[in-house]
Point group: C2
Chain length 346, copies 2
């Protein structure tokens, strides 16, 4: 049986269905005074905590192709991007607002599956959806999520506070998601690529928000950012906002076997894939050399993967420099990646 479309069901009935789905499948978070259903949502913030707030959009045709991703995975991706930002401050997600621009022929089942994706990412944190907006857009679908979170007062880890001399750590394997996306595009003409593990890395990204909170709790991180603009793009944000440079060691980069194989298929350098645009939601952390062990230990409590020391923070004048395997040094301009990236003014 075909699912009804948004147009057939009507927007107010759609809202009723979504509200019921959230009530049934989502969790109830403490602090909520008014959830969905009034002019605004309302909640009571906890004393001693700062509130964090971020928003992020996904636009059909720009950030995803509907034929390549299920609505459930799309919902998860969109929410994970926001959760990752809260985590990169050392915070904990609390409440989400979902704004959707739907097409009139979008099916109810598609919308419901997106919400199941949002909820699947929020439930583990005891976080919930408290509001949003639904409209038909006439054009492509868009998802805009605002996520609120909290962090103990004064314990938020910013991107603007890295210091020369600090060590640069990165979790996991940056670049895998971006390579997965390229493989996914290629798989239209080469269906055997559909089973490549990096396509899964792209479709179901695993944020490190829990690890980010643990790192924040140590109070030893001098700066932290998630790699939603790619390793070099986000390191560039740290440089710009902290007024520092960095010296990177290519040999220390965590380039996975999967990424090397993908590089071969794509005819690209593994190093380029590692550094370039890729929303992996890994964490880049800077800290004093004396505190690397504590940071590693905080991350290891929930993440079994690698935490790699890939370089160190330098004076601003040094710029962004890379020491290659052969010992030669080269200046790289993080700005070069900007035009691939989304503009985030949060």
């Amino acid at each position: 049986m075909m699912s009804q479309t948004v147009e057939q069901i009507g927007e107010f009935e759609l809202i009723r269905r979504i509200r019921n789905l959230i009530k049934k499948e989502g969790v109830e978070s403490p602090g909520v005074i008014l959830g969905i259903g009034d002019d605004t949502a309302s909640f009571l913030p906890r004393q001693g905590y700062e509130l964090l707030v971020t928003c992020d959009s996904m636009v059909e045709g720009r950030h995803y192709l509907p034929e390549h991703i299920s609505p459930f995975d799309l919902g998860r991706r969109a929410m994970a991007a926001n959760i990752s930002d809260i985590g990169a401050m050392g915070g904990r997600p609390l409440y989400g607002l979902i704004s959707l621009g739907l097409k009139s022929d979008t099916e109810l089942a598609y919308v419901e599956e997106m919400y199941r994706g949002f909820i699947a990412e929020l439930n583990p944190f005891g976080a919930c959806i408290i509001g949003g907006n639904l409209t038909t857009s006439g054009n492509g679908l868009f998802i805009d999520i605002t996520l609120l979170g909290e962090v103990e007062m004064g314990k938020g880890v910013q991107r603007s506070t890295a210091k020369p001399g600090d060590v640069i750590l990165v979790t996991g394997y940056p670049g895998e998601s971006g390579a997965g996306l390229q493989l996914l595009s290629l798989s239209s003409s080469r269906p055997e690529l559909k089973a490549h593990p990096l396509i899964k890395a792209y479709l179901s990204p695993a944020h490190k928000a829990g690890e980010g909170a643990a790192v924040g709790h140590t109070e030893f991180a001098t700066a932290m950012i998630d790699t939603s603009d790619g390793f070099l793009g986000d390191l560039g944000h740290i440089c710009e906002e902290s007024g520092v440079g960095v010296l990177l060691f290519a040999e220390k980069f965590p380039v996975s076997e999967n990424l090397k194989r993908a590089a071969e298929i794509l005819g690209k350098e593994p190093l380029a894939l590692f550094m370039s645009d890729s929303d992996d939601y890994e964490l880049i952390i800077t800290c004093s050399r004396n505190h690397v062990a504590e940071i590693r230990s905080a991350i290891a409590s929930s993440f079994p993967g690698p935490v790699s020391e890939v370089g160190r923070v330098t004076e601003r004048e040094k710029g962004i420099r890379l020491v290659k395997a052969d010992g030669s040094e080269e200046e790289i301009r993080a700005r070069g990646w900007d035009h691939f990236s989304d503009g985030c003014i949060r």
Copy 2:
């Protein structure tokens, strides 16, 4: 000289320009710890206050036509819609997050003018923009705003708490904005209509957020809502959420001379224009008959226009009934307006 387009200027340079504009023309709000420029924004909520949060989208071609509205007015409208929601809870706006989907040929000057519109609405409240997201959408432009506000603990005025026997008050002249929009569409073929005062009512809506806060402060309103879905649409929301019916008196409806003239031009009944879809951002307030004077006085402190007593709240079973000028009574179904309206799940 032509303004540069978003594509020419690049997204990161665009963000820099917007950030500067906000810094220069916006106000600095108390409580902000981190504004634009990190993974998330961050702020310290005031003790003894609930936080309110709402979001609302405007989509090109769906909610506005670019040839009919300047980017400054568009920015004002989009922000006023959100401010109105905070006000309808009795709250005060604090912080905005702006998510924009731009076309690659959108001009920088257009985006800047939209931000001037946002800021023009926020500055009077000492409220500011603390974050957001910019992306190119490939399709039509969209604006999605999330607005945070605050209200003293327990003093938020909901839409779900109207009681049978309450009086129904409405501010100003609902229906004018919707009629103005219809005149605006007609003005393409009839340019003499461009000077009609209701077109201005549509283009520069005046929310009643200050008045909403004053009403909330009296603690005498049993329910309140803004008329962004039209008088009958929003009264229907009160009925549905409060589990009540209403009895309305057509003779008491504040139908302005301007609306009557517009009805003639449009070949419609003034009453129908008054009740139907129109985002005027007036307030519908319910209260005990004993407290009408206090509510009127709270509103009069800043709004010189009419506050009309248009009916009373009844038991749910009575439905939504209208007493016409000739004394006859008719049941009207607010649901009939739903499909014209935006779906708001906040």
